[in-house]
């Protein structure tokens, strides 16, 4: 099991993302996008393609846009091919924004993006822990998970979805994660449970197959129990909730 973790141009969560995959048993490599463009065939050696969080191109012209355009021009077909195989793709935070801008998620009918990521309703950057409920159990990434406690850290985490697209997303069950409140009920847009004002409290979307997951929260930052806020009150567990996502990737190939 091999994971390719993308880097370059301001992506900055590649180390911890690779580490999370390694902890569950993957072998992996951080590959600079320019090296991947030089030799896209190396994708054949990998089962998982991960786009980590960061600030590619400083979020200029919209988060994820510039990197998505670079991929679109140079790598798009290879990535589509990857996604059509029995392989997994994950985009976390900036990676999520890139996948959305590429249109790889939700990828209902057309090649162009159907969803956009826009600025948080609060207008400010939000770094905080949120509770999430898994909405879509068919995605290999999310199998057998009910609830997750993970951090978000973003300025543009609001999913903007035109009504007709939202209908199809729901009909096809492509909402991956939703923000919930302290009573384990949907946050209904209420801040800070829903940190960005996303419609329908959406925190993650998948493609139709479920093998491509675009999520705003950061599972790699919730890997160990001591990364979770106030962990001193509960030291019985070794791992945080983020571990479950990476473990699911492993199980998919096991």
């Amino acid at each position: 099991m091999n994971v390719l973790v993308l880097s370059g141009y301001g992506i900055n969560c590649e180390n911890e993302t690779l580490h999370a995959f390694e902890v569950v048993g993957f072998k992996g490599k951080i590959v600079h996008i320019n090296d991947l463009i030089q030799n896209p065939k190396q994708l054949n050696n990998y089962q998982v393609f991960a786009i980590p969080g960061g600030f590619s191109y400083g979020d200029d012209t919209g988060s994820g846009n510039a990197m998505a355009k670079k991929i679109l021009t140079n790598l798009y077909d290879h990535l589509i091919e990857f996604s059509l195989k029995d392989k997994l793709i994950i985009g976390i935070c900036n990676g999520c924004q890139i996948l959305i801008n590429l249109g790889l998620v939700p990828s209902l009918n057309k090649k162009d993006p159907e969803v956009a990521m826009i600025e948080n309703k609060s207008g400010s950057y939000e770094c905080r822990w949120v509770d999430l409920k898994v909405n879509n159990n068919k995605s290999p990434w999310l199998k057998n998970i009910n609830i997750l406690n993970l951090p978000v850290a973003h300025q543009e985490g609001q999913f903007m979805i035109p009504i007709n697209i939202l209908k199809s997303i729901k009909a096809n069950n492509l909402i991956g994660l939703q923000y919930i409140n302290n009573h384990k009920k949907l946050a209904k847009g209420q801040f800070p449970f829903n940190p960005n004002g996303s419609r329908d409290d959406i925190a993650a979307l998948t493609n139709q197959n479920g093998n491509v997951l675009a999520m705003m929260p950061h599972p790699e930052r919730a890997l160990y129990h001591y990364n979770v806020p106030n962990w001193q009150n509960n030291t019985s567990k070794k791992f945080g909730d983020g571990y479950k996502i990476f473990m699911n990737a492993k199980k998919f190939f096991a």
């Binding site: 510039a66 993006p113 956009a116 309703k121 207008g123």
Partner: protein, 975 residues
């Protein structure tokens, strides 16, 4: 054909909502504009606008649709167009250019473009003027306000313009400066700069008359006139900013100066006593390094960026943080930045100070503009660089109205050995190539180093301001740390900060002997820079490397493959000469010895200052609960959660003790990160400064800062033998004997307490003239000096995860105060907010303090302590309520135990070296055993109710935790 691409968001953006709220006007819309220097044909327009916009969320304005699209929002009538002045870093434009180049590889001729923010409103002209004042800084941006009709007209007629840097085309000829002139004319060169042919002046050199005479003597000995480049270089190298002349000067009877005697003196003494490997690299490098574990070193550096932040708060702060990141990259062979710290000392953002740098003109920016700009500058710098920013604080005082203090710090990590060689040692060898990597050089930041050594006065130059580009730096940093360093491809590295190339190359050349630089090789942002400008420019995001000739090609290729520019600009030589050429003409040739040590040494005298007494304020009768609310909601105690949540403190997945603590999210005194996945050791960070104590007694002020910074780490669980500290002195009027007296006293305390606590100083920086000289709104001249401020930053190693403490007691826990509470309310938050009581200022007794700390450490390791919080501003009263807010569980406090002092003195005194702890009832006996004979008081317990209650004889006073939380989490007015 058009020369602009303009894009607007279909839905209301967060920025738009906040503008609408702030100005109480629902008809505000923001357009992202890109103005091109050439016309785009339809095909290019379509292609490019598609590349830089989003189909789903945005609309692209065209000549055809602009009227219709915009009128669908409302009938706008005013427009403000904000764009950068020519030459100011425009990061968005850089990205757009890169996107175009990357995706349209075709024959698109060279072009310039500028990003523009266009704000449309429906309202009065006053409204738009007000918005423009809040949204733009005239020092770095142009602001055009015009009617909406004209905007439509500009659109139709392609009349959006970008302003390019227009520098006169000039042929450089070597400029020699005649110094055989009158003292008066000589001092003009120092104060106003070198005179150009047209009689204009280049801007302050910060050289005093004596320095200029020293330079004159040197050149008369070598029998020639100095060039302009030589004088500029000497001004940079000899600046207070680079040489710390005040700290190294003879002062009263201290021959060696206060740095050598008190700061380095303390560290030398400690090293001599300790005999361990804890101190690795001190004072000599860009940051100070200590041992983290057997394989790794951590380094820490804290810088100030006060003057730039006064002029351009956002730019000043962002360059502050990315600049100090480079100090870590330039530590040893290059340490990876793993945490940022910040501390801001600001004027009240809710007040209008109305200060002017010149009579009735050139106003200071409003206090809230400065505060907001600084906070966002560090946000963008830290977040975009992928470096967590967990640790910081903010303090408000009117005396920072003329100059804000902006402290930015970075922690880095590096393996002890790289390919068998010690990583903290580096040496540029004769023959090594000088390689400049990263950004290009422009006019930005010219005279930054000389300027920051001067007071903020009418002649403060605008070009001293720079804007950081964190992404360019991130790309460069990744190459250095990941691909070059561990291959040992270079022999030395340092960053380009103050003084630019003149300073970085000058410093590195000490390792080899000397250098030869060919300035025409330096890549420029635009043509037309004079050689002296290239040499001293402080354009950001650049590192200088010494690369053995055989590796140069490889190094350049690696940089280029990652989209980073790297250029050969000269070589290091053995001969102790500093030589700079421009197109083969030699324009600088100095002895290295004179360059670095030739400056005249100061001889300073101090005198005992008049002590400014606190103004007496009558205490209003208030209930205890009311007083607690008053203090909790006061700006210096109130939660800084709004900063913590906008600074990414989780990136790198190392966060272990977070800035917001407990379920109730209390803003902590210390934070910790666990930097290595395979070692359970953590790094704890804290900081402290007490400017409010300075005028009463600078010695005690300094002691309190060290004690608090140290205590916070002990409380967090750090190993007392693995704590180091950093000093950042921000002083005022350092040419006045009474201010120098305060400085000497504060430095003396640094020695006494650092030696007592065995905490070496590992790095430090000073900024000596934080004064504002200008005018108030009536045209009366005013001088505002900051209170002397010593920021002590502390960094320590926590050996085990189980040693890390929490601040939340559990049901049934007993509460104790460790340490003595005395009547020390002078200069306290209480005396400022509630009223004056006859009292003393807090004094640290290091022996008592250490006893408390040692026993706390032991008890914590034995698992006796359940929770703990350091007691500081607002005393026990505030520590107790913060604990209750954090844990959301009730506490009961017994006031009968307060001993001989009044209730208010007991609850609000700011006596130092105290810790509020909680422990399970069954651990108390064990605790008493190890804590026998020392000062502690059992003051109450955790009840699990929803109130904090204070019992005094028969009276019980209660306050609801949720109400306290409300006061503590109030917004700071004006922010």
């Amino acid at each position: 054909m058009t020369n602009t691409i303009q894009i607007l968001s279909i839905e209301k953006t967060g920025k738009e909502s906040s503008l609408q709220k702030e100005h109480n006007n629902k008809s505000i819309k923001i357009i992202d504009g890109y103005f091109f220097s050439r016309n785009l044909d339809d095909q290019k327009f379509t292609k490019i606008s598609k590349l830089i916009s989003n189909d789903v969320s945005q609309t692209i304005l065209t000549k055809k649709n602009v009227n219709k699209v915009l009128s669908s929002y409302c009938n706008f009538n005013w427009v403000v167009e904000i764009k950068f002045l020519p030459g100011v870093t425009d990061n968005i434009a850089t990205t757009v250019k890169e996107i175009i180049k990357d995706n349209l590889k075709s024959s698109f001729k060279s072009f310039e473009l500028g990003s523009t923010k266009i704000i449309l409103i429906k309202g009065k002209k006053e409204d738009i003027t007000k918005i423009s004042k809040n949204e733009a800084n005239p020092l770095i941006q142009t602001i055009k306000i015009y009617p909406f009709k004209q905007y439509l007209n500009n659109f139709k007629k392609n009349q959006f313009k970008i302003e390019k840097v227009k520098l006169p085309k000039k042929k450089y000829s070597k400029k020699e400066i005649n110094l055989d002139i009158s003292d008066y004319n000589l001092s003009l060169i120092g104060k106003l700069g070198i005179e150009e042919n047209d009689k204009s002046r280049r801007g302050t050199l910060g050289l005093d008359l004596e320095s200029l005479k020293t330079i004159r003597n040197y050149f008369s000995t070598i029998k020639r006139k100095p060039t302009d480049v030589e004088i500029e270089t000497l001004a940079q190298t000899w600046s207070e900013h680079c040489k710390h002349k005040i700290f190294s000067a003879k002062i009263d009877d201290i021959q060696e100066g206060i740095f050598k005697k008190y700061i380095k003196g303390a560290t030398d003494k400690i090293i001599q006593l300790r005999k361990d490997n804890f101190c690795v690299s001190l004072f000599t490098d860009n940051a100070g390094g200590i041992e983290f574990n057997k394989d790794w070193i951590i380094c820490h550096k804290v810088e100030t960026h006060n003057t730039p932040s006064a002029l351009d708060p956002f730019g000043g702060a962002i360059t502050g943080i990315v600049g100090v990141n480079r100090d870590c990259l330039g530590f040893g062979k290059g340490a990876k930045p793993i945490a940022n710290t910040y501390a801001y000392y600001l004027a009240d953002p809710n007040k209008k100070y109305q200060l002017y740098r010149q009579k009735n003109k050139n106003p200071m920016l409003p206090a809230n503009f400065i505060a907001k700009g600084i906070i966002s500058g560090v946000r963008v710098g830290g977040n975009c660089s992928g470096i967590p920013t967990p640790q910081g604080n903010v303090y408000f005082d009117d005396r920072f109205a003329g100059k804000p203090l902006v402290f930015c710090g970075t922690v880095g990590i590096i393996p002890k050995k790289i390919r068998g060689k010690l990583s903290h040692k580096k040496k540029a060898n004769p023959g090594d190539i000088i390689l400049m990597a990263g950004g290009r050089v422009g006019k930005d930041g010219i005279h930054g180093a000389t300027f920051s050594s001067e007071e903020l006065d009418p002649n403060s130059p605008v070009s001293a301001v720079q804007i950081g580009d964190p992404i360019t730096q991130k790309k460069m940093s990744d190459v250095i740390i990941r691909e070059l360093r561990d291959e040992n491809l270079y022999s030395s590295i340092t960053d380009n900060g103050a003084g630019g190339l003149s300073s970085s190359i000058g410093e590195m050349a000490k390792e080899s002997g000397g250098f030869i630089v060919n300035l025409e090789k330096v890549p420029l942002k635009y043509n037309g820079l004079y050689p002296w400008e290239i040499w001293v420019s402080e354009s950001q995001e650049r590192m200088t490397l010494a690369v053995p000739p055989e590796n140069v090609k490889k190094v350049i290729n690696i940089f280029n493959a990652r989209g980073v520019e790297a250029t050969i600009i000269g070589k290091f030589i053995k001969k102790e000469k500093a030589i700079v050429k421009y197109n083969k003409t030699e324009i600088l040739n100095l002895d290295m010895e004179f360059l670095h040590e030739g400056y005249p040494k100061l001889n300073l005298k101090t005198s005992f200052p008049k002590i400014k007494k606190e103004k007496k304020k009558i205490i209003k009768k208030r209930s205890l609960i009311d007083k607690l609310h008053k203090l909790l909601s006061s700006p210096n105690i109130v939660s800084k959660e709004f900063i913590a949540t906008q600074y990414d403190h989780e990136v790198q997945a190392t966060s272990i003790i977070k800035p917001l603590q407990g379920e109730g999210r209390v803003f902590g005194n210390a934070t910790a990160i666990k930097p290595l996945f395979d070692d359970e050791k953590s790094i704890a960070l804290s900081q402290a400064a007490y400017p409010q104590y300075a005028e009463t007694n600078p010695y005690d002020m300094s002691g309190c800062s060290i004690d608090t910074a140290y205590k916070n780490l002990i409380v967090s669980g750090a190993n007392s033998k693995k704590i180091a500290i950093l000093d950042n002195f921000c002083w005022c009027s350092s040419d006045e004997p009474d201010r120098l007296y305060q400085l000497k006293e504060a430095a003396k305390a640094c020695y006494d307490y650092a030696v007592a606590y065995q905490t070496p100083f590992i790095s430090g920086k000073d900024s000596m003239f934080n004064d504002f000289k200008g005018f108030d709104k009536t045209g009366k001249s005013v001088k505002i000096s900051i209170p002397p401020t010593l920021l002590i930053s502390s960094i320590g190693v926590v050996d085990k995860i189980s040693h890390l403490t929490k601040i939340t007691p559990d049901d049934g826990d007993i509460l104790l105060v460790l340490g003595n509470t005395r009547n020390e309310l002078q200069d306290s938050v209480y005396s400022k907010i509630i009223g004056y009581e006859k009292s003393k200022n807090p004094v640290v007794n290091s022996k008592d303090a250490l006893r408390t700390y040692r026993i706390f450490e032991k008890a914590n390791k034995l698992g006796i302590i359940n929770s703990a919080i350091g007691i500081d501003l607002g005393g026990i009263g505030i520590a107790v309520t913060k604990m209750a807010i954090a844990t959301k569980k009730g506490l009961t406090i017994d006031l009968k135990l307060k001993n001989k002092i009044s209730v208010d003195q007991f609850l609000f005194s700011e006596s130092q070296s105290r810790i509020l702890v909680s422990m399970k009832k069954n651990k108390l006996a064990n605790f008493k055993k190890i804590f026998k004979g020392s000062h502690y008081t059992i003051i109450g317990k955790c009840t699990g109710s929803d109130v904090v209650e204070f019992k005094d004889n028969k009276k019980i006073i209660r306050g609801k935790i949720s109400d306290f939380a409300k006061s503590y989490k109030q917004n700071i007015k004006g922010l």
